[in-house]
Structure formats: structure tokens, C-alpha cells
């Protein structure tokens, strides 16, 4: 098992408009990309569980070969920039992905 942070070059989160937060994981070579993709670890069900979200809030969960990337998009909690906001830019929601173990 290897942590995702050891395999990826970029792991980040950011707003995609005020109602969604999107996560990008980028790899530098096709073999690593294929290893993570084929491991079956990054699924909507597992990632919803990791983020304590309902699986219906997973809008996109896909590998994208042209950019050697994985993308996850979740519906955001609450109103962006409104009362109770925790992360206006959505830029610090990526950390749980760092430690996802990949066989």
C-alpha cells in the first residue's frame, strides 16, 4: 500500500462556482495513473464516506487520461461566503485525500 501523496504530483481542492467543491489529483506518468485508476480505491462510495458526504452529493468522480488526472466534485455544504462558512475559496478541503492508501 502507498499513500496517494506519494504517487501524485498535485492534490488540491477549489471552488467550482459557489455550490460545488472540486478536487484534482494529478500524476506525472501513465503507469502511476493506471495503477491508481485500476486499484479501484477512488470510487464515489469510498470518497463520499471519506468526506462524510451523501453519495448523491458526488457530482463527478472520474479519471481523465489526457491530463493523467483524477477529478472529484462534491456539492458544497452551506452558502459560500455566508454565515457559518469554513472555507470561502474551498482551497483546504483536499487533505483527507493525501492519506488514501493505494494497493
Amino acid at each position: 500500500m502507498t499513500a496517494l501523496r506519494e504517487l501524485a504530483k498535485v492534490i488540491r481542492s477549489k471552488n467550482a462556482g459557489p455550490h460545488e467543491i472540486t478536487f484534482d489529483v494529478m500524476f506525472t506518468d501513465e503507469a502511476t495513473f493506471a495503477r491508481v485508476r485500476d486499484s479501484g480505491v477512488l470510487t464515489p462510495e469510498r470518497l463520499a464516506r471519506l468526506y462524510r458526504a451523501d453519495v448523491s452529493h458526488v457530482r463527478v468522480c472520474t479519471f481523465f487520461a489526457p491530463a493523467l488526472a483524477f477529478k472529484l466534485t462534491l456539492v458544497r455544504f452551506g452558502d459560500q461566503g455566508g454565515a457559518g462558512e469554513r472555507d470561502t475559496f474551498g482551497a483546504q478541503q483536499h487533505a483527507p485525500l493525501l492519506d488514501v492508501e493505494v494497493p
Partner: protein, 450 residues
């Protein structure tokens, strides 16, 4: 260089600053236009709701001066999207006024075209009633009161109003709220660049040098009919296929199809090739026009007034029972302030050092040896918010708890005043696609300066 067009974006956001020497050397080497984005919804709804600009006037002036000099010296246009942050009509006028000041300072005349994209609430209300507004990403349609309560409503314009502004003699185009890549497409497509290439350049360059390693500063793209080359403005940075491909995905829900006004950019078949040490060539971008013209409508409403306090807790006895303790503080505060039970006011605690960033999404809820508490109170008036905030802060400071040894106070307070009103709270009341047929965006031309 026939058939090639170069556009330069010196910074990802007007007012964030950039290295003037790098900018000058790029301009001297030859660029055909300078494009810079000035707005975003990322900082939240308060710019639109309160009319605040993203940075100060001084920062705008500092960033604009070298660009205006380049415009004048090299007779190349400068295109500014989403003026001021939210792109309201007032912020467009403020930006034009800053350009006037710079033109006077530099003793030059500037031909400015201003594009206004604020919408009357009545237009949105009417189209809502006609079923011509689509649900947002959460599947919600706005209510009539969402429309009526909006302090301002702007439409994210596409390329057409920029093309109209560029169709006459112009030095600077200042646009209200605009889809970030739109000014790039408006400049490039009429110069023979494939729409897919033009929109893809816009998607990458609107953030300046974020597509480079290390990220930051500016970037420039040289386009030809069916491909483009992208490189960072700073000589110590480089673009790589990964950094450029990564940026194509940035801030989009999907990695392959990027929807905007007028069509969808399909980057599913793109190739990224390292051309030299710092430059990447991109090809294969496709643009599919959409038959129905839709426009993104943004509105922001004031939902209350906020007062905050901040402090630290180091006592392990208290940290060990913090959730129970804060629930008791909230209950005691509600006894003093009936607005809390009635739902017209709220108290929230953000516990830094334990789940403050991710909240209920936090998979690893482990407390540290100290935690920070941000108390956030929202109420209908600033006075009510301050009164409730003071009660909540006194509660956290002095409420007793089981096992207490430290009886002098529960909170290390770094700030005086202890309770700080921070103004109105806004929320996006509208962020929806609306049918755009029949909507016109005024382009106003004037000459400023000498």
C-alpha cells in the same frame, strides 16, 4: 509571424501585483493584446452584495499604470473583465475613473469602451415566472424573494459584447461581470483562431501564471489556427504538459467539458507537448456552440449582520469536553436572547485545531493541545449581533464545567475590543443559468485623459 496572435496576461487578478520588468520584456518582444481578469465569485458574495472591490484603489492603480503605458506606446488593446470584483455597473465606472486618472497623470488620451452587464431585477423576475431559469448545481430554483432581496444582479457575459467593443477604435475595454475566458475568445476568434483554441487559451490565461511551475505572476499565449503555445511571463518559471493540463481542469466541475456562454469547450482530445524548456504546445481543443443562448445570472443578498470574537483554549480538562461545553454556552446565550430560539439570529463556534476547516466532513477529528475558538454571531441588526456575541463570549469565558480547576477564565483573548462587529453577511441569492435571448449589454465609448 503571419497568422500568429500573442496575448499577454500579466497577473491572474488585476490588483494582485506582478513584476514590471518581466511584463516590459514580454511587451517589447511583441504582444497583440493584454487581457486581465478583475473578478471572481471565489471570495464570496459580499463584493456583489455590498459593492466592495476585491483590492484597494491603490493596488488597481499600481497594476494598471504599466499596462496603460504599454497600450499607449505599442498601440495594443487592454481588455479588463469583471471590473472591480463583482462587475457591477458602479465598479465598471470606478475602473474607468481610475483609467482617467492614469491617463491624466501620463498626459495621454485613452479611448475606453465600457460594457455594462448589471441586470434589472424585473428582467430576472419575469424570466423566472416564465420558466426560463434553470436550477443551480444544488438543483434549486430561486424564489421570487431571492430575486427581490438581491442587492445587485449581474450577468456573466460571453464574447459578443467584447467583440462589439473591439469593433471600433479602442485602447481599453472595461467590462462588467464576464465569463473569465470571454475577452480572449472575443479578441482571438475574429483573428482566425479556432474557437476551441481561443476559449482554451482564455481558460488557462485568465489565471495568469497559475499554469506554470512555480505558479504565480503572468503568462502569455501565442495562437495560430489550430494550436497554441503557452509560457510563463517570469523567466524563472516554466510550463510543463502537466502544469498546463492541470490548469485546464482547475475550478471546473468536469475535467473534459467546460461549459460557458455560447458553447462548451471540449478538452477531452487535447495534446500537451513540451516545446522548449519553458513552453508547452496545446492542440486538439474543440468548441461546440450550444443552440440555446444561456447566461449565468449572479445575485447577492444581505442575510444579516455579523459580530465575532476569537480566543484560545489550552486547558485539557475543558478541551476534553468542548462539544458539551459549547452546547451549554449556546443554550445559556439563547435564554438571554430569544432571537436565537426564534431562528432570526444564530451562534456558531469554529474550533480551530479541531475540525474548523472541514466541519462535519472532517475524517480525522483529533484535538490538539490547544484550540482556537471563533465565535460567529449573525442577527438582523448589528446591535443585536453584538449583544448576542457579547453574551456568547462571556459564556465561553466564564461558564463552569465538570472537573474545572481553572476558575479564573476559560479563554485566552488576543483582541480588544473583545467583540468585533464585522458588518453585513451576504449570500448568493442567484447563481443560475437564464435564457439570454433579447438581453442587450450596453457598450459605452468615451475618451479619457488629455
Amino acid at each position: 509571424m503571419s497568422g500568429e496572435v500573442t496575448v499577454l496576461t500579466p497577473t491572474g487578478m488585476l490588483g494582485y501585483g506582478y513584476r514590471e520588468a518581466d511584463f516590459e520584456s514580454c511587451v517589447r518582444a511583441g504582444v497583440d493584446a493584454i487581457v486581465v481578469d478583475s473578478g471572481s465569485t471565489d471570495p464570496g458574495p459580499s463584493m456583489l452584495g455590498l459593492g466592495h472591490t476585491l483590492v484597494t484603489e491603490e493596488s488597481y492603480l499600481r497594476d494598471l499604470r504599466p499596462m496603460v503605458r504599454a497600450v499607449h506606446r505599442h498601440r495594443i488593446p487592454l481588455l479588463i473583465g469583471s471590473a472591480g470584483g463583482a462587475g457591477t455597473d458602479e465598479q465598471v465606472d470606478q475602473m474607468v475613473e481610475l483609467l482617467r486618472r492614469i491617463a491624466v497623470e501620463q498626459g495621454i488620451a485613452l479611448r475606453v469602451a465600457a460594457i455594462y452587464s448589471q441586470l434589472p431585477r424585473s428582467v430576472v423576475r419575469e424570466r423566472l415566472a416564465q420558466g426560463r431559469i434553470e436550477p443551480n448545481a444544488r438543483g434549486e430554483l430561486p424564489s421570487e424573494s431571492d430575486v427581490d432581496s438581491s442587492e445587485a444582479v449581474v450577468a456573466q457575459i460571453g464574447a459578443e459584447p467584447f467583440e462589439a467593443a473591439l469593433s471600433g477604435p479602442v485602447d481599453v475595454v472595461v467590462a462588467g461581470r464576464a465569463y473569465d475566458p470571454a475577452p480572449y475568445a472575443a479578441f482571438l476568434v475574429p483573428r482566425g483562431i479556432e474557437p476551441g483554441i481561443a476559449w482554451h487559451i482564455g481558460k488557462i490565461l485568465e489565471c495568469g501564471g497559475v499554469c506554470a511551475e512555480p505558479k504565480g505572476g503572468g503568462a502569455l499565449a501565442t495562437a495560430r489556427a489550430d494550436s497554441f503555445d503557452i509560457k510563463p511571463m517570469g523567466p524563472e518559471q516554466r510550463c510543463t504538459p502537466l502544469s498546463v493540463a492541470a490548469h485546464t481542469l482547475y475550478e471546473n466541475s468536469r475535467p473534459d467539458l467546460l461549459a460557458g456562454p455560447g458553447g462548451v469547450l471540449d478538452v477531452g482530445g487535447c495534446a500537451y507537448e513540451q516545446l522548449d524548456e519553458r513552453t508547452v504546445r496545446v492542440s486538439g481543443s474543440r468548441f461546440e456552440p450550444t443552440p440555446r443562448r444561456l447566461i449565468k445570472v449572479e445575485g447577492a443578498a444581505i442575510t444579516g449582520h455579523r459580530c465575532i470574537f476569537i480566543g484560545g483554549i489550552h486547558d485539557p480538562v475543558l478541551i476534553g469536553q468542548l462539544d458539551d461545553f459549547l452546547a451549554r454556552v449556546e443554550a445559556e446565550t439563547a435564554e438571554l436572547h430569544p432571537e436565537l430560539a426564534a431562528g432570526s439570529a444564530s451562534v456558531r463556534f469554529h474550533v480551530y485545531g479541531r475540525d474548523a476547516v472541514m466541519g462535519q466532513r472532517e475524517p480525522n477529528p483529533v484535538p490538539g493541545h490547544e484550540v482556537g475558538i471563533l465565535g460567529e454571531v449573525v442577527a438582523e441588526t448589528p446591535e443585536a449581533a453584538k449583544a448576542i456575541c457579547t453574551s456568547a463570549r462571556i459564556g465561553v469565558l466564564h461558564l463552569n464545567y465538570p472537573g474545572q480547576l481553572a476558575t479564573a477564565g476559560n479563554l485566552a483573548l488576543p483582541l480588544t475590543p473583545l467583540d468585533n462587529p464585522i458588518g453585513p453577511v451576504c449570500a448568493f441569492s442567484l447563481y443560475h443559468l437564464m435564457e439570454a435571448d433579447g438581453l442587450e449589454h450596453a457598450v459605452v465609448r468615451e475618451e479619457v485623459g488629455a
